[in-house]
């Protein structure tokens, strides 16, 4: 089979190019090839949500996504939702209420919450819980994470 051309996609708002390898996983591409280490590897099985990124704005588990599938699409990682200086409103709320403990799940929650509040600026508690149902956290019991998302929503994140 002839080798396909390089993989081209939008990464955090910039055009990106990577060598194409049919079996390359998006998480590996991001972390190992592109050195975007904010996206975390928690299970490689789609069970924990630590590797969540936005693909065309939708929360997506990068450990279950073949890199080829983002050809021509837009990928936003935790680095992409972070402003050049300071913090986004969602990030600020997470810091203020203590929604991080070990912090390993946090990037996944931040990108998921960012997408939620973009689509639904005033989610109720049930909607928040549904949105984060794909993200595991073992430290916080989720309570301060939910509180942070509510706080960001109240402030019009």
């Amino acid at each position: 089979m002839p080798s396909p051309g390089p993989l081209r996609f939008q990464l955090n708002g910039q055009p990106a190019e990577a060598p194409s390898e049919p079996s390359r996983i998006l998480l590996d591409l991001l972390r190992d090839d592109l050195h975007l280490t904010g996206t975390k590897r928690g299970c490689d099985l789609g069970t924990c949500g630590c590797c969540a990124v936005l693909v065309d704005g939708r929360p997506t588990l990068s450990c279950l996504t073949l890199a080829r599938l983002v050809e021509g699409r837009s990928v936003t990682t935790i680095e992409g939702v972070s402003p050049p200086q300071g913090l986004s409103p969602v990030q600020r709320a997470f810091v203020e209420v203590g929604a991080t403990q070990c912090g390993f799940c946090t990037p996944g929650f931040i990108v998921t919450a960012t997408a939620l509040l973009r689509d639904q600026p005033h989610p109720d508690r049930q909607e928040i819980m549904r949105a984060i149902a794909g993200n595991l956290c073992r430290c916080t019991g989720y309570l301060k994470i939910i509180e942070a998302i509510q706080l960001a929503a109240e402030r019009g994140a």
């Binding site: 099985l45 810091v95 203590g98 991080t100 799940c105 990037p107 989720y142 994470i145």
Partner: protein, 774 residues
């Protein structure tokens, strides 16, 4: 009545956001796997498919010959045994003569990339003789055909037996009015932290070895590396990056950490080992599968006369913390109630399964469940309220337990009062409709272990260094390990409080054994108490230097200088002041940067009999939780809508972190009581993934009403005690007892899954014993 003075503190007691929070929410916090070294190789481990087998021979020639392979290691290269406890060194970096469980590391390779490493592993050929496997600890109590370890007691698989008797238990039972017996059965559970273990090692031509590792206890890792690799400690540098949760699972020195270092030495190249999620489950070291059998005797007034406790603990393949576990399953029953007679027999038995070890509220969780259920049962028999029964038996402050634990501060009775009032207990208990109920569970835990695991050389439990130079930033060094619980924030908070400066001035440095003075790490809920005291001592020394500078500038004696916010002022006229920076620069004129060292060590407490040290602590936490449950009596599915968590951690230092610890503990406790279980078929782990090993989802989390009622502890930093592990314990019996109130069934087999609930409900119906009219 509160003995705590009104807060005279600027920061202490407030909600102080975690200092590393901005790095974590942006993905900029650096965990081990985020670090890559030039020329780094991939290290991979071959894990045994045999539960118990003698490794007769191994052929690694094909693996070694594979292009891209730099090293292949088997057990005999580094055979020195190690283990977290100096008295039970029964692990090796790689299995030497036998495989002892499915998942045991039997070989390792370092190669250019993952695929080559995997291919090399597949080329390693072992010849083995299968040996009998032992999945049930009961089968290991007598001498066995093939003991898992030579050190098993008298040819059995018993790793540790503890027998203790204080007072006269038989005489107490003979005169008792009320007696109860509860036999508890507890499945093993595991930490399920989100960051899998990871290690990088690099040996450099200057003869040094640097190891970055996701560890809770950098110092014990440092010691183990030195012992097994035969390198002096000063040639090894251990660095702890951010750690994505531990809960005890990263507190043992782990074999892959040593293997990684060995591969780096063999190859001369940096080597990274990532443990994948499945192997995290096989590495385990979670809470032991346990059976306990407890009897409690009360007199006619409901005073506890005696406990008689047996515990059978399934250790898995190695000792790990097991000797401590065996003691704790008995002695951590010595609070929060006064128990004048106590007998205990605990046995921890090796099995050919993944090793169990220390997990949050280590040794204090399963025994507590059985005791609290037993007390609930006794209260019912006697017709007294469960709160009243407990209140009557509360350990008094400044007392000594029958096994000679020194109890100083306890606000346990305040915990009871708060939980009772806030939960609306008196209008709910036995009064809610069938299917709904409330239950009380209490807790007691050590605020650090009084005896360090390593006691040679004699040194403080915790040391903290502070340095402030002309820029006005305060660098703090300590080997305490922030694993997400907020200990870096606590350190910064204490320094800022004592010096009067903004917390942003305090920069807590990453743990690095080259520059961090030793603190024994994050286990046994010791950090707040011990590192907190060491930090305060260091900060007070720095303060004295700064105040001397201020005094020199102001022309008043140092004793008359007070600390303000970013300033120092004359007591008699607060307008006579200098800024922190001016005082600093004055103080530096002669000596340059100001440095200070503070340390903390525990006093000797407790008895002198064998095992007396186990469970001694400089202070203890206390808890009283009420859980409310709602049971669907047709399916057995139940929810826990609310938990009222009254906790005595002494003075609250960082309210944000204490709340976070309690909420997280409730989550983890609910997981164990409601559904988490390491499922084995024989010796084979059946659910090594987060899909099959389910931790609670957001929808299962209750509302947690946190009630912090502790009085100041006399020796804790600013009066504080632990809040990291004790908050888990009371969750389990509160739920178990609430289920009884809801449906009239006692559950002593954990986890309490819906099928068990339904079976209990059906059985009660069949027996014609209606509960609350249903």
């Amino acid at each position: 009545m509160s003995t705590a003075p009104p807060s005279e503190y600027r920061l202490i007691g407030r909600k102080v956001p975690y200092v590393e929070g901005p790095l974590k929410v942006t993905g900029r916090a650096e965990y081990t796997d985020d670090i890559n070294r030039p020329g780094q190789l991939v290290g991979r481990l071959l894990r045994s498919p045999w539960p118990h087998a003698r490794l007769r021979s191994v052929d690694v020639s094909a693996a070694r010959a594979l292009p891209g392979v730099f090293a292949v290691l088997t057990g005999e290269r580094y055979p020195t045994p190690f283990g977290v406890l100096p008295i039970t060194h029964d692990e090796t970096a790689i299995a030497v003569d036998k495989s002892r469980y499915i998942g045991d590391i039997i070989a390792a390779v370092a190669a250019t990339d993952e695929r080559t490493a995997e291919r090399a592993l597949a080329l390693i050929r072992f010849e083995v003789d299968p040996l009998p496997d032992y999945s049930d600890p009961r089968d290991g109590l007598a001498p066995v055909a093939e003991p898992i370890h030579a050190r098993g007691l008298n040819g059995s698989n018993i790793q540790k037996e503890v027998v203790q008797h204080f007072g006269d238990v038989d005489a107490a039972f003979a005169k008792a009015t009320h007696k109860v017996r509860v036999r508890g059965n507890f499945a093993g559970v595991t930490h399920a932290f989100t960051e899998p273990m990871a290690t990088i090692a690099e040996a450099t031509p200057d003869g040094r070895l640097t190891v970055w590792s996701a560890t809770q206890v950098p110092h014990y890792l440092h010691r183990s590396l030195s012992e097994v690799l035969g390198l002096p400690m000063h040639r090894i540098r251990v660095i702890k990056p951010e750690v994505g949760g531990g809960f005890g699972g990263k507190s043992d020195p782990l074999p892959h950490e040593i293997v990684c270092a060995a591969l780096a030495i063999e190859t001369g190249r940096p080597v990274k080992i990532l443990i994948d999620r499945e192997d995290v489950f096989y590495t385990n070291h979670g809470r032991h599968p346990t059976q306990n059998d407890i009897r409690i005797a009360l007199d006619a007034d409901g005073q506890i006369l005696a406990y008689d406790i047996e515990a059978l603990i399934d250790g898995g393949a190695w000792s790990s913390f097991g000797t401590v576990t065996t003691y704790y399953n008995g002695v951590l029953s010595m609070g929060p109630y006064r128990v004048p007679n106590f007998r205990y027999r605990g046995r921890r038995v090796y099995t050919t399964k993944p090793p169990s070890g220390a997990m949050r509220a280590h040794g204090g969780t399963n025994i507590r469940y059985s005791i609290e259920v037993a007390l609930d049962q006794l209260a019912e028999t006697m017709g007294v309220d469960p709160f009243d029964l407990r209140d009557r038996n509360a350990l008094p402050p400044n007392s000594t337990t029958v096994n000679q634990f020194r109890i100083t501060s306890t606000s346990f009775r305040k915990c009871l009062a708060a939980a009772r009032a806030k939960s609306g207990w008196d209008s709910k208990f036995r009064k809610l409709p069938y299917g709904r109920g409330v239950g009380l569970g209490c807790g007691f835990y050590i605020s650090g272990s009084n005896s360090p695991i390593h006691f040679t050389p004699v040194m403080p439990q915790s040391t903290v260094h502070l340095k402030v130079d002309m820029d006005g930033g305060i660098a703090a060094h300590s080997m305490q390990a922030d694993i997400g619980q907020g200990s870096n924030t606590l350190l910064a908070l204490i320094v800022a409080e004592v010096l009067g400066v903004d917390i942003e001035r305090v920069h807590v440095q990453r743990v690095d054994s080259d520059v961090s003075p030793i603190d024994l790490g994050s286990y046994s809920s010791r950090v707040t108490f011990m590192m907190g005291n060491a930090t305060r001592a260091a900060a007070e020394q720095l303060k004295a230097q700064l105040v001397a500078g201020a005094a020199a500038l102001l022309g008043h004696p140092a004793e008359e200088i007070e600390v303000g916010h970013e300033r120092y002022f004359w007591r008699n006229d607060p307008n006579v002041e200098v800024s922190f920076m001016a005082a600093l620069h004055k103080a530096m004129e002669e000596r340059g940067a100001l440095v200070a060292t503070g340390s903390y060590n525990t006093h000797k407490v407790g008895g002198t009999f064998k095992g007396a040290r186990a469970g001694t602590a400089p202070a203890y936490s206390f808890a009283a939780y009420v859980a409310e449950v709602e049971v669907d009596v047709e399916t057995g599915v139940y929810a826990v809508p609310t938990v009222w968590a009254a906790f005595d951690c002494g003075r609250v230092l960082n309210r944000l972190a204490v709340e976070g610890q309690i909420e997280g503990s409730v989550h983890m406790g609910l997981g164990q009581v409601m559904g988490e279980s390491m499922n084995y078929r024989g010796t084979r782990l059946m659910n090594p993934s987060l899909l099959e090993y389910k931790i609670p989802m957001p929808q299962q989390m209750p509302k947690v009403e946190i009630l912090l009622v502790g009085d100041d502890d006399p020796e804790g930093p600013f009066g504080a005690k632990e809040a990291g592990e004790g908050p888990l314990i009371a969750t389990l019996p509160a739920v178990g007892n609430a289920l009884y109130d809801a449906v009239g069934v006692r559950f002593t087999d954990l986890p309490i899954t819906p099928d068990k609930v339904l079976k209990g409900i059906d059985l009660r119906r069949k027996e014609g014993r209606p509960w609350k009219g249903a």
